[in-house]
Amino acid sequence: MRLFVLVSICLAMLIADLHYRYLEVVRQTISVVIYPMEIAAATPAELVRNATQYFATLIKVQRDNGELRQKALVDAERLLRQEELERENLRLRALMKMSERIAVTSIAADVLYEARDVFSRKVILDRGAQHDVEAGEAVVDELGMVGQVTRVYPIQSEVTLVTDKGQAVPVRIERTGQRGVLYGGGEGRLSLRYLLANADVEVGDRLVTSGLDGVFLPGIPVARVTDVNRDLQAFAQIGCVPLADVGRIAQVLILGRQKLPPVPRPDAAAPATKE
């Protein structure tokens, strides 16, 4: 009898959580209780990680340093051009009376560890609600998109990687502008779905975010097409690999959109004028 009751409670919880996401409040409340334990458990692991980093060989650091210097030079030149372009873009937009692009906020974060849930591909970052991270924001590294913030804890946040089976990213093909939805395919791969078999896709095409979802910024590189199979059904099977080194990320940027000021309501000012 007891078994029956407890099992049905568990099943109800599973359905409420997986299907309807009703239990986030419960989860947040309990997570406050077990948070000290998680920190206590993570501290020794962090020590080990730091120790291994500390003993990294000098040669590797020197090589990294050289690579970074070269990259900084290239980036500096690009940055100069981009500043110029941004100014020009602003001028042109003003001329055309178009609205300005929404400014981007970015938060740098370190990956603490891979999430313990073996059924999903998630990582935990060391930035959370206290650092203004919000659920839904895109997470990128220097090569491209890594994933999306799915849960925010007080000083940590959980990122679902693009390779997770439940993760979808609206993208467009950079070469043609064709839009599609990119899904995680398991085993570190991705698949671009719902493109017709005769769609113009080639191996090597780069996919960037389309920004149509209103969540991700447009134009973030996501993946490269590796194989196209057209002779199965109405839709082509398109396999992709993420551009970012999703399996071994260490430092990332969390990209968010700056909040727009609320639209003033026409009746909000009315009582003041009556006085």
Partner: protein, 173 residues
């Protein structure tokens, strides 16, 4: 020949606070971020199974449920995934308690292994049905290392009960 009850040593009664302390410690051990290293045992399942076998009157499905929910939150897993697995594990371990205790720790671990595997199988089923990715066969390795660790765990968790009330050389305890 009938097997003998291995705990012929007369044990002191278990202290409930020690039971719950060990469960909380196991929960803490489970939270150590080991990444995706295969074969890391599910400490909480192991300790829970131990007490369910050892003290079926004190530890059972309710404890399994509560600690399962804590695991779910800590792991960021689906709510109810560990809870369901642990409730079933506790039920199985309670049911086996009378039989398993007649064997020595090694034979006990043989009987615990299917229970641990069953708990993992429940979790795989729940998540795969919900559309998650199959984590690969190495996932089940955790139960095997868990069963191997049963013997040292048996010793450590019974240690407080081995201590005599007062030392007396003429008494065989």
């Amino acid at each position: 020949m009938q097997p003998t009850h291995r705990s012929r040593r007369i044990l002191r009664p278990v202290r409930l606070w020690f039971v719950y302390l060990s469960l909380v410690l196991a929960l803490g051990l489970s939270f150590i971020p080991t990444g995706q290293i295969p074969g890391v045992p599910d400490w909480l399942a192991l300790v829970l199974a131990f007490w369910c076998v050892r003290e079926p009157l004190h530890v059972g499905m309710a404890a399994g449920f509560v600690f399962g929910v804590l695991m779910d939150v800590g792991y960021g897993a689906a709510m109810g995934q560990h809870a369901l697995a642990y409730v079933l594990l506790a039920y199985g371990a309670n049911a086996l308690a009378r039989r398993v205790l007649w064997f020595g720790p090694v034979q006990q671990s043989m009987q615990i292994l299917p229970l641990l595997l069953g708990a993992q199988l429940v979790m795989v089923l729940v998540r795969v049905v919900a559309g998650a990715e199959f984590p690969g066969w190495s996932y089940f390795l955790g139960s095997v290392t868990g069963a191997v660790l049963w013997m040292p765990l048996h010793f450590v968790l019974l240690l407080p009960q081995y201590q005599p009330e007062e030392r007396d050389d003429n008494r065989p305890i």
